[in-house]
């Protein structure tokens, strides 16, 4: 199935395609966020903030066809 992934700031280095901040990813059916994290090689990142379909998620959150997965670095500052 296909999910939409959005990565932020320093996580963009794990991105795919022409726009590493936003891209589609094929994952097996019944995948979870953890599968996406492994697929992108982000398994060593600590404390990733996960948003799935606009709700707070976690690595075990299940995905469905067309889900949007936002992965944010936990220590980002801001103004």
């Amino acid at each position: 199935m296909e999910v939409k992934v959005r990565l932020y700031t320093v996580f963009k280095r794990y991105g795919r395609g022409p726009d590493p901040s936003e891209f589609c990813l094929m994952v097996p059916a019944n995948s979870t966020v953890r599968d996406v994290i492994y697929e992108l090689g982000m398994e060593n990142e600590q404390g990733i903030v996960v948003i799935v379909d606009g709700l707070r998620g976690e690595p075990d959150t299940p995905l469905k066809e067309g889900s949007s997965v936002f992965l944010l670095p936990p220590a980002m500052s801001g103004g």
């Binding site: 320093v10 944010l72 980002m76």
Partner: protein
């Protein structure tokens, strides 16, 4: 004295007298420079009775010891004065090129008193200080003023000036240098306007000598290596600067949308930093002594929102965009340009327009009150028109030209949850405290009113998950690190905010200490530097307490406490640490839990015994009155 020009200029604009003297050694040892100097003078000279617009208010330009050296990011200058918005301690700082130019004239500080009879320009050079009439410039915007003064004094000259907003004493007026670098907060531009000082021109070529050039070079190399090894600084900041934050804040559900009624903006992608780069970016630009080039210069090439190239930050996108529910990026760029051109604080004005729109929605303002403007949410024409009207204090623009708090008082709704201010400042950050509970709390304890820039650092949402004690300790570190940057004259974004993680920031702050030691030759260790910043933060709090600030003034605005976020990933969340956060913060600071005043023991330990005696008398008086 290495790293200092060792000269202070005093100017009395009332009499035209100009004097010069060396730097006070106790001031240097106790407060180092920059914000340390501006705040110490405010404690010494600007008591509660001083009128911010009176001749007795003092406008202080100051640079730190690293300005003019090869230290990375060493471009900052600070301007302090009693704030006409808060009535307490005021200051702002800016990067660009003015700071090093001021240091190159051979002055560390300009202390400006009195009120000029006629509009005046102050030329500061190695030959001294000269005042000239500026009738010809009065009324000119900041872009025009800078162009004309650099044509008159040469391209090497750097200009810090006010525009029409400062001339008209709009309390949200700022000082602008380098075509868009703003000393933005606290209404310092209005103080400059009250003195009829149109501009300060710095023209000099003196080099700043340092004690250990090789040591400075080594520390600078290590700092640059730290920047090169941080993916945030190599891949993200040069492309997006601070505009990188808008999309992230929206997707986390904490973007200040519709005057903080919402946490997400449906059109966030249309006004994001990424979209801005693809549409209106003209150039990436860097401050003096900086390799990051985080300054994004933008312009709208044509159409009704056509604008001249000037700098933009994330805050403009959040303020004129999300806060006003405005999805028109060109209008945001235009409103930002008008702020830079006319000399106004983007943060306070954006908050004020969002507030007005909510007043209109609620019927506090009726159609007949708004002079033909359509203040419906998201109207880009209204955002731009109100910005222009504010600069000239026309109609509704006059209502908001003194900031959110005074506008709300005029409308009789200052206690309502939609009039969001902390210590009378509405332009605090755009990160919702119902999401970033700990990190957003930094604006509650800022010494210059509700302000997020006093304690920047890489911690973000992760701080929510730390035990409160540890989270507050991290916030204290951020406060000290940012204060150290502002006394030394370096950019807190380079040394702090632009760090992928806390460890990287901690390392850079350590190198900053090495830069200071190499530049000045002093032997103080990092613990001593912490003491200097702790002394300064306590003195600044004392200025506030003397001006009537107490614990209740540190409260988070009501909306965040009472109204749960209605949307986004944190829907249902409230700011529920109003008391617990401040209890822990005061405990770690050594401040009185009931009054919020710095404790006597703490003050004495910092060499502030005299301050302690003044505060004790004030607290006694307050108690007798109660």
């Amino acid at each position: 004295m290495y790293a200092y020009a060792d000269r202070v200029c005093g100017v009395d604009l009332t009499t035209g007298e100009v004097s010069s003297k060396g730097l006070d050694r106790e001031l240097v040892e106790g407060y180092i420079g920059g914000r340390g100097f501006t705040s110490k003078l405010q404690w010494d000279e600007l008591g509660p009775d001083v009128d911010p617009f009176g001749p007795e208010n003092v406008l202080i330009f100051a640079v730190g010891p690293l300005v003019g050296t090869a230290a990375p990011g060493s471009s900052r200058y600070v301007v302090g004065a009693k704030s006409p918005i808060t009535g307490i301690l005021g200051d702002g700082s800016a990067g660009g090129h003015f700071g090093p130019a001021l240091k190159a004239t051979g002055y560390d500080m300009l202390v400006i008193r009195g009120i000029a009879e006629r509009p005046t320009v102050m030329l500061v050079s190695e030959h001294g200080v000269r005042l000239r009439e500026a009738n010809d410039l009065w009324g000119a915007d900041t872009f025009e003023t800078e162009r004309r003064l650099r044509a008159e004094f040469g391209k090497e000259a750097r200009v810090a000036c006010i525009g029409p907003a400062g001339e008209r004493l709009a309390r949200l007026a700022c000082i602008v240098s380098d075509g868009g670098r703003a000393v933005g907060r606290c209404g310092i531009g209005a103080v400059m306007g009250s003195k009829r000082l149109k501009a300060v021109v710095a023209l000099g070529s003196r080099k700043t000598s340092v004690a250990d050039p090789d040591g400075l070079k080594d520390a600078a190399s290590r700092l640059n290596e730290a920047l090169r090894s941080d993916p945030l600084c190599t891949n993200v900041v040069p492309k997006l600067g601070t505009t990188m934050w808008l999309r992230m804040m929206n997707d986390l559900g904490g973007l200040s949308t519709k005057n903080w009624q919402l946490g997400t903006f449906y059109a966030a992608d249309e006004i994001s930093g990424e979209t801005l780069r693809q549409t209106y970016l003209v150039a990436d630009r860097a401050c003096a002594r900086c390799s990051l080039a985080c300054e994004k210069v933008v312009a709208v090439p044509e159409g009704k929102f056509k604008s001249e190239p000037t700098k933009i930050e994330y805050f403009a996108l959040a303020s004129f965009g999300a806060k006003c529910l405005n999805a028109n990026l060109a209008s945001i760029v235009k409103a930002n340009e008008l702020c830079n051109r006319y000399g106004m604080d983007v943060a306070e004005l954006g908050a004020a327009i969002g507030f007005l729109m909510e007043c209109y929605e609620r019927g506090v303002l009726s159609p007949k009150d708004v002079e033909g403007l359509d203040l419906a949410w998201g109207n880009p024409e209204a955002v731009v028109k109100l910005t222009e009207m504010t600069a000239f204090r026309q109609g509704l623009g006059a209502l908001i030209s003194d900031g959110v708090r005074r506008a709300a008082e005029s409308l009789g709704c200052e206690d309502e949850p939609y009039a969001l201010t902390t210590k009378k400042v509405g332009g605090f950050c755009s990160m919702d405290p119902r999401v970033w509970k700990i990190y957003s709390s930094r604006w509650r304890t800022a010494s210059r009113g509700g302000d997020h820039l006093r304690a920047q650092g890489p911690a973000g949402i992760a701080l929510n998950d730390l035990p409160l004690k540890d989270a507050v300790r991290r916030m204290l570190f951020n406060e000290h690190a940012c204060t150290l940057c502002e006394v030394l004259g370096v950019c807190k974004f380079v040394y702090g905010t632009y760090s992928s993680d806390f460890e990287r920031m901690e390392k850079k702050i350590g190198i900053l200490g090495d830069l200071y030691r190499a530049a000045t030759g002093t032997s103080c260790d990092d613990r001593d530097l912490w003491t200097v910043t702790e002394r300064l933060l306590n003195l600044e709090r004392a200025v506030g307490v003397r001006g009537g600030i107490g614990r209740h003034d540190d409260d988070m605005p009501r909306r965040f406490i009472e109204e749960p976020l209605p949307d986004g990933p944190y829907a249902g969340s409230k700011y529920d640490i109003n008391e617990t956060y401040i209890d822990e913060y005061y405990r770690q600071r050594g401040w009185d839990m009931r009054t919020g005043a710095p404790g006597a023991d703490k003050l004495v330990s910092l060499g502030l015994g005299e301050v302690s005696r003044v505060l004790r008398d004030i607290c006694r008086t307050v108690e007798r009155g109660a």
